[in-house]
């Protein structure tokens, strides 16, 4: 009956564990079995930690016997390999961290462990989370469970594919410009990128520090909320995490959206948007109106600048963040005897093309004489984008939009055209730049049966309203119950 155990939601699994119907070891073993059966085709995992997972599951069972009922006790999850895990290789999908075994565990992952979660392994990602397909992984490309010839999205493609394929009940990803939301949409699962400052970034290997946030994946909004509630909160180790109390996200899922004011930004329904996606998103909006929400069109006039602004700010920060990978203290060193040649060989061989491209972009944008024209100007436009949302949220509670312009594209289709690849994040970048909430729920399938995701955007730190809206929609639909044909 192992397939049944991997088809549960987290809340269903928790109920069975609580009732004593199943053990954490059984549940974990079922997932490991499925990983070993399916992952050779899907390739969601960079590292599978069978032994550690089973040990953790056995401990969870023991804790439960002793009366412990921690919220995620015995729940098997997948963790994006951008998140630091003590004693387990953490590579960021890069050869420059090949063989790196961290001496500490990041805050969000530690909170999952403290809540009793079982880590199954570390999932594939575009190198340093730079990409939208996992094709930039230094190791291999992950395949979309709905169509193995297609990408799962990225950069958190490994986590999204693992959850979609039933290889984990939930997962953590990271989102800098859409890296949680875009793969969730392409893999037909639910996810949230919380507000900047909602979850500690301590232990998240930085790509762009002012944008990076850890997000959660699940098969339902309920699961996504449960995971978020576990990892959210202020962390004294992260000065950018906000010292605000964490609301009870599960309690926010009332199913009631009567009177909820929904904004539909006209700038998000543009040429290049796949017709089936527009149809599915518009249908979703109607569905919510039928549920009692008030819908109005809004404008986010600076939307078109999000992409150029993002591709100045994110690479600028990345160019500094990635300077520490020099082979001096950890990671492989390609020694050339002298210092400078060694730096060049280590970084030259350790980083892939896209990472180098962004380091160069960022280095250029921060250089003397260009700083004002590029980095500083981009920061100013970022403020305008933020103000667009602030003004919109004076009139509406949430904003609904497509998550991606297309459904999952073919592996290799955009790999040689960075700009086309960058455009697949065009609807998710703005919320990242504004530091606000973005959630995704499945809202249909295209003519090829590929999933479509609805994006629900809300004001900073109003995760409860975003989750309530997404959950209410999910309650009224059954898109999330479909499973890929594996």
């Amino acid at each position: 009956m192992t397939t049944d155990l991997t088809d549960l939601t987290i809340t269903q699994a928790r109920d069975k564990l609580r009732a004593g119907d199943i053990s954490a070891v059984q549940l974990t073993q079922a997932h490991l079995d499925r990983i070993h059966a399916l992952d050779p085709q899907i390739r969601a995992f960079l590292t599978i930690t069978d032994e550690k997972a089973l040990d953790a599951a056995a401990q969870a069972d023991q804790r439960r016997q002793q009366g412990d009922d921690a919220p995620l006790l015995g729940i098997p999850l997948a963790i994006k390999d951008v998140l630091i895990t003590k004693g387990v290789p953490t590579t960021c999908g890069s050869h420059i961290l090949e063989g790196f075994v961290p001496p500490y565990t990041g805050t969000a992952v530690q909170k999952l462990f403290d809540a009793g979660a079982v880590m199954l392994g570390k999932t594939n990602t575009d190198e340093f989370a730079m990409g939208s397909s996992t094709e930039n992984s230094g190791y291999f490309t992950t395949h979309n469970p709905w169509d193995l010839d297609r990408v799962p999205g990225g950069s958190s493609g490994g986590s999204a594919a693992a959850v979609a394929a039933g290889m984990a009940l939930g997962a953590l990803g990271t989102d800098t410009g859409g890296s949680v939301r875009q793969p969730a949409a392409l893999c037909g699962i639910s996810a949230i990128k919380p507000s900047y400052g909602r979850v500690s970034r301590y232990g998240l290997i930085a790509f762009a520090s002012s944008l990076d946030q850890i997000g959660t994946f699940g098969r339902t909004v309920e699961d996504v909320a449960l995971l978020l509630g576990t990892i959210a909160g202020h962390d004294p180790r992260d000065s950018t995490s906000m010292p605000l109390p964490v609301p009870d996200y599960s309690a926010a899922l009332t199913g009631d959206i009567r009177g909820l004011r929904i904004g539909v930004p006209k700038e998000y329904f543009i040429g290049g948007l796949q017709p089936e996606i527009e149809r599915a998103v518009r249908a979703a909006i109607e569905q919510m109106a039928a549920g009692g929400a008030e819908v109005c069109e809004i404008s986010l006039p600076h939307t078109e600048y999000a992409l150029p602004v993002y591709y100045l700010i994110a690479p600028s920060e990345a160019s500094a963040n990635l300077a520490r990978f020099d082979g001096v203290r950890y990671g492989p060193r390609h020694s050339q005897g002298e210092m400078w040649p060694t730096y060049k060989a280590t970084r030259g061989q350790g980083f892939g093309h896209e990472v180098k491209r962004r380091i160069m972009l960022g280095t250029y944008a921060l250089s003397a004489g260009y700083y004002d024209a590029y980095y500083l100007k981009a920061q100013k436009v970022r403020t305008l984008i933020k103000q667009d949302f602030e003004q919109a949220f004076e009139k509406v509670d949430v904003i609904l939009s497509p998550t991606t312009p297309t459904t999952a594209f073919k592996i290799g289709e955009k790999a040689d055209d960075p700009l086309q690849m960058y455009l697949s994040d065009v609807f998710t970048l703005s919320a990242s730049l504004a530091g606000i909430v973005g959630a995704v729920v499945p809202c249909g399938y295209d003519d090829d049966g590929l999933p479509i995701g609805l994006q629900v955007i809300g004001p900073a730190f109003d995760e409860p309203t975003v989750l309530r809206a997404a959950h209410a929609y999910q309650q009224a639909t059954d898109w999330h119950t479909r499973r890929p044909p594996l």
Partner: protein
């Protein structure tokens, strides 16, 4: 021949000796003696995924210095990343402050050898983190990151310094203030305080700024003075011989007593500064700044002025006493113990410093000598009350300095009390005069100066303990008495 003047701006890096590092909880240790790489953690090692957290104590220490240097504290300050690659810099960037420093526009008054004072403008003081240390052994370079992440305050002056003497005076005064503020030990030999003069010269009267050089690795204030003087002379010679000065970073070679080129600066380095996204802007509430200002200790200038007005010390003596915080505290402790301030100052500046010089001890170690402030106060009081005379006091000083002890007890044990018994002293005087008829005759013939010689003989006979004034009076009386015979 053209007369030149030097134009010097001083850059100082002062480690802030807080309990923990600038952005993590590792201890700040003496990196010259600690075993390498023992005081490190993922944060100061620049591991992937770590984040900095601002050490509030370091901010407070920085503010103390800023306020003591009469700086304005802007509404906010901001950390920024300064990017460059070097193995002693774990993250590949140093977290520093750039556009918005902690403190700006201050000044420091320096004391010059001729007794005059001068104000040196402070352009800015900003917080940053120190780098690790490289040791080069047998063609390999070893990295020690104990020092990486130690809080630093960089203090930059205006180009107001115009001679090696002024550079030295600035260095001395700044070091004294840092020590008074208890933020830095001032131990330049251990690298916790690093002074780097930026030097150029120009014809007197010119207003242009010429190419400057930066002198590093100066491990004492004396070397700051010597290297500055050397470099000023060198540049003048270059111009005199029709050459041009090249922009360069120089070092001081202690063996050759000369500056050596460390690296020529062909073009300005681009550090690609941008605001540190991992840290919030630093906003210090005004009331907190005022609380820090109110809690500042009495600084050298104020202390000097008080010593002059309250104790009647000379400007020179007062300035010498306050130059080292430890000396000032020693002096104050002795005054507190009841001694006469002027006498105490004399003994410290004279005998105590002489003894310490003989042992090559720094004045800052005065708190550790065996002669306690209380003992010095007691000694001074014994002289004042006439219990012992100055000669005995000086000898006693030597004993107390070497072995310590209670002066009153030593006087009693060794029978050093002054003899003021007139009959005893008169007998000694008569005995000396009887034995020196020739000297007596010379006195009577009008040679007054023999009194001094005879005085010495009497004091010798009294083993130095005679009341000098009384002996002098008795001698004169007895000599005059012999005139009538």
């Amino acid at each position: 021949m053209t007369a030149y003047e030097a134009v010097i701006g001083m850059e100082v890096h002062a480690e802030l000796q807080t309990a923990s590092k600038m952005f993590c909880s590792c201890a700040v240790v003496d990196s010259t003696s600690a075993a390498p790489n023992q005081h490190v953690c993922p944060v100061c090692l620049g591991m992937p995924g770590v984040l900095p957290v601002i050490n509030q104590q370091a901010v407070e220490f920085g503010l103390r210095v800023g306020l003591a240097l009469n700086c304005e504290i802007p509404e906010f300050s901001q950390f920024a990343r300064k990017s460059y690659f070097y193995p002693d810099l774990p993250k590949g960037y140093q977290i520093s402050q750039y556009e918005f420093p902690l403190a700006v526009r201050g000044w420091l008054e320096i004391d010059l050898p001729d007794g005059s004072t001068k104000r040196i403008g402070i352009r800015r003081a900003h917080l940053e983190e120190d780098t690790g240390k490289l040791t080069h052994v047998d063609g390999h370079s070893l990295v020690d990151l104990n020092r990486a992440g130690v809080p630093l305050l960089e203090i930059v002056t205006e180009a107001d310094i115009h001679s090696a003497e002024e550079a030295e005076a600035y260095a001395r005064k700044l070091r004294a203030i840092l020590r008074y503020l208890e933020v830095n030990s001032g131990d330049m030999s251990k690298g916790v305080l690093r002074m780097e003069p930026n030097i150029s010269v120009r014809p007197v009267g010119a207003s242009e700024l010429r190419t400057r050089t930066e002198v590093k690795n100066l491990n004492s204030i004396r070397v700051v003075a010597r290297a500055s003087a050397y470099e000023i002379e060198r540049q003048i010679k270059v111009y005199e011989s029709g050459g041009t000065v090249q922009q360069a970073t120089l070092g001081w070679d202690e063996n050759r007593q000369s500056v050596v080129v460390q690296r020529l600066k062909e073009s300005a380095e681009d550090y690609r500064y941008f605001p540190e996204p991992d840290l919030p802007i630093v906003i210090i509430p005004r009331d907190q700044i005022e609380a820090i200002r109110a809690a500042l200790p009495e600084l050298p200038d104020a202390k000097r002025d008080r010593f002059i007005t309250a104790f009647g010390l000379s400007h020179y003596d007062a300035a010498v006493l306050v130059a080292e915080q430890a000396v000032a505290y020693y002096f104050e402790a002795a005054v507190q113990a009841g001694g006469d301030p002027k006498q105490i100052a004399n003994y410290i500046i004279g005998d105590v410093f002489r003894q310490m010089n003989n042992e090559s001890r720094d004045r800052e170690e005065i708190g550790a000598i065996k002669l306690t402030p209380k003992a010095l106060a007691d000694l001074v009081t014994l002289v004042q009350k006439g219990t012992i005379n100055h000669g005995v006091a000086k000898k006693l000083m030597d004993t107390l300095y070497t072995d310590g002890g209670d002066p009153a007890r030593l006087v009693e044990e060794r029978g050093l009390a002054q003899v003021s018994d007139e009959s005893v002293l008169a007998a000694a005087v008569i005995a000396v005069l009887d034995a020196q008829p020739g000297e007596v005759a010379r006195y009577l013939a009008g040679e007054d100066k023999v009194v001094k010689f005879l005085m010495g003989l009497v004091m010798k006979a009294m083993r130095g303990k005679g009341d000098a004034q009384m002996v002098q009076r008795l001698l004169t009386e007895q000599l005059e008495a012999r005139r009538t015979n």
